[in-house]
Symmetry: C2
Subunit: 109 residues, 2 copies
């Protein structure tokens, strides 16, 4: 068989694009994404409220997440967090170019 190697740091979007999400792998239970955020903020008042648990790591750049209730979490290169499903959060601000790796895990039924 032939194994395909891809590189997460290649084929980055133009800097004018605030956010780009690419699927790296998707199965019925798990989705792995690369997210490139470029000086990005979630719209004011917007909250992610996801059915999936999410594990997310900053690979390059840095970002501040805001959680409902006001907690701010600064994430730098190599920092990772687990965000349980339905924990409301938003992207307060990212650096000029921030690469995330996100793993979404479907809730058990």
């Amino acid at each position: 068989m032939t194994i395909k190697v891809k590189n997460i740091f290649r084929a980055l979007p133009e800097l004018s694009k605030p956010e780009e999400v690419s699927n790296l792998l998707e199965t019925p239970t798990t989705k792995i994404e690369r997210i490139v955020s470029q000086a990005y903020s979630s719209p004011p008042g917007f909250w992610y409220d996801q059915d999936d648990d999410e594990w997310v790591m900053v690979l390059r750049g840095e970002a501040t997440l805001e959680f409902e209730g006001g907690e701010l979490v600064l994430m730098k290169e190599g920092d990772h967090v687990t965000i349980p499903r339905h924990v409301r959060h938003r992207v307060e601000q990212t650096a000029a170019q921030t690469l995330w790796l996100a793993v979404h895990i479907r809730g058990e039924k």
Copy 2:
């Protein structure tokens, strides 16, 4: 709630330790691991033959994987591959210090 931030590049093992695996997150369907390989090779004749699909990326360092049949795959920083379950493979050699992120996804039943 309080979100815990951890950093994948911290608390690295002593260089004398050839391989260290740490669980970052484990659910019934998905396991996320940090693997630190230090000038590591799988034993000669040893093959991983896993029930899970594995997505794996090199975060630091580099490594060569060998697949049954003789295919060699060199992986550098940011390179990632998907290894379907039961595709036999081994670690041919890693650099002095290589950090991997591995996501194991249970087979559907």
